[in-house]
């Protein structure tokens, strides 16, 4: 009885007691529902590192928004989205029209973007602002920020549903998609736009350094559990949800910063999945050594 109460208290207590924890919970749920499916496509398109680069690319936009309007949600959001899209489209154009390839082109753009952002924040901001930008503020999400996160979740899920087929076919067989449909570049740029808005959402909650964590890590973990696109999205979303809520509680009880705890948790889930999941290292090993192969 006593234990039960304590458990209730530890798991639910913070959310019952504190409004900011409820806000943070809602923010984490929105982010997980949206970022994890985007992360699955990021992985399938072999763009996980590109996601990380893009996360840094949104910094100067957010910083310029901050420079002009202070710590304003709208200004930093618009700035981040504009900077992210500019880098995505700019590096895509350079890759298609010059002898520079996509990876180098993106690296060039995001490095320019990142250094500009760090410069602006360091010259004009203070260290508290810098911490906010780098590590987010999931425990300080207000109503407007939550509305933004849920709006982004709605747009993301609707768009993913609409462009799912061209997006999948563009990963599976891009040449074939070009043969039968002109939707390839629409799907590509549509997906980049989703990536950018989700990074901006992640940036508000987790900060630029770790926004991409809630995309890449659940998707990579899910790969060890299931083998089809739909189940990958479901498992990645479930892992992201559970881990971010758990991370929130751990960070509350231990009084540790939230975003590194959440991303570390996701990292732990990834390592455990790699080891113990059905398609993970240990089971594969066991299967190979412990079983005789079939007759045919």
């Amino acid at each position: 009885m006593m234990q039960n109460l304590l458990l209730d208290n530890a798991l639910l207590g913070p959310f019952i007691e504190f409004g900011f924890m409820r806000q943070a919970l809602l923010g984490c749920i929105a982010l997980a529902l949206s970022a994890a499916p985007v992360g699955v496509f990021l992985m399938l398109r072999r763009m996980s590192l590109m996601g990380d680069a893009m996360a840094h690319a949104i910094l100067p936009g957010a910083a310029i928004g901050y420079l002009l309007f202070g710590l304003s949600l709208a200004a930093m959001t618009v700035g981040g989205v504009v900077a992210g899209l500019a880098v995505a489209i700019g590096s895509g154009l350079v890759a298609r029209n010059t002898l520079i390839r996509e990876d180098t082109s993106l690296a060039a753009f995001y490095l320019i973007s990142l250094s500009l952002g760090v410069l602006i924040v360091s010259v004009r901001g203070n260290s508290v602002d810098l911490l906010h930008v780098l590590f987010g503020s999931v425990l300080a999400l207000d109503g407007a920020a939550l509305a933004l996160l849920w709006g982004i979740t709605g747009v993301t899920l609707a768009t993913l549903f609409l462009i799912r087929r061209p997006l999948i076919l563009d990963c599976l067989d891009p040449g074939f998609l070009r043969q039968v449909s002109g939707l390839g570049s629409a799907a590509h740029y549509g997906f980049l736009a989703l990536l950018v808005i989700n990074l901006v959402a992640g940036f508000h909650a987790l900060g630029t350094l770790m926004a991409v964590g809630i995309m890449v890590l659940p998707a990579a973990s899910a790969r060890f559990w299931v083998r089809r696109v739909g189940p990958l999205m479901a498992v990645a979303t479930a892992l992201a949800l559970l881990t971010s809520v758990a991370g929130l509680l751990v960070s509350y009880h231990a009084d540790w910063p939230t975003s590194p705890v959440i991303v570390l948790g996701l990292g732990g889930v990834y390592l455990l999945s790699m080891a113990f999941a059905p398609r993970g290292v240990l089971r594969q090993r066991l299967r190979r050594s412990g079983q005789r192969h079939l007759r045919a």
């Binding site: 087929r165 999948i168 990963c171």
Partner: protein
């Protein structure tokens, strides 16, 4: 399978194809009747793949015209496919992409569509593979799956660039039987090939290409020693200092 009253006559008029003004195929003119089964042969670098790309509509001619071909009437299997065989999808899902023109990005994938997929898989000898992962297929099985996708595309004109390059004899025989079936259904099939014995046995018409048309017509009349010798001589290298061709259309 549907018959193709709509299969077009393909006409090439003084077609010159190439890259950066350097022609890979010169002055090619010919008619291909609906329902033809045509082999395109020639030495390496003769412009065979270039011709297929132009017919598929992905390479614009330097000069001349291609008539009678619309992009939506073509199913094309390139020599180097972009297919990512490690993608997490089952065989039926991959083959179903052949129904793109009917189902599209948002259309409903019905039970009838699913049956057509399974029938196409059966036609290429992949029954029982419907829910297997694409990553479990061998090279020959992957090529069979690509042919199942071609079946579902059900296009009046089928272009194949070295379709049997990396598959064994049995797979080749099965896939050749499919080509004959397509021809009987009224489709026009063009295939780039290397095995002349196979061409003689299965392809009524042949184009021997060596940067320019060496011979075109009934296979027996095209594949002569004299024509092959001429094809070898015509294969000149890409010349940086090449002058402009006098016979510009």
């Amino acid at each position: 399978m549907s018959t193709h009253a709509s299969t077009p006559t393909i006409t090439l008029r003084d077609l010159t194809l190439g890259y950066e003004r350097h022609p890979a195929v010169h002055h090619l003119s010919l008619h291909i009747q609906p329902g033809a089964l045509v082999a395109v042969v020639g030495p390496n670098g003769a412009g065979k793949s270039t011709l297929i790309k132009a017919l598929a509509g992905v390479l614009a001619p330097l000069s001349g015209h291609i008539e009678g071909l619309q992009r939506e009437h073509i199913a094309w299997l390139p020599q180097h496919s972009d297919l990512d065989a490690s993608f997490p999808i089952d065989v039926r899902g991959m083959v179903a992409t052949g129904l793109w023109r009917q189902v599209g990005a948002l259309g409903r994938f019905t039970a009838a569509h699913r049956q057509r997929c399974d029938a196409a898989l059966a036609a290429v000898g992949l029954s029982g593979f419907e829910t297997r992962g694409l990553d479990t297929l061998s090279g020959g099985q992957l090529q069979r799956a690509r042919f199942a996708r071609l079946i579902l595309q059900d296009a009046p004109v089928v272009l194949l660039d070295e379709p049997f390059a990396a598959v064994d004899q049995r797979t080749t025989a099965d896939l050749l039987a499919l080509l004959h079936g397509w021809q009987r259904a009224g489709k026009t099939v063009l295939a780039v090939l290397h095995d002349t014995a196979q061409v003689r046995e299965h392809f009524p018409q042949t184009l021997l290409l060596a940067r320019e048309p060496v011979a075109w017509g009934a296979t027996g009349e095209v594949l002569t020693d004299a024509n092959w010798a001429r094809a070898q001589r015509l294969r000149e290298p890409f010349d940086e200092q090449a002058g402009e061709c006098g016979a510009v259309a």
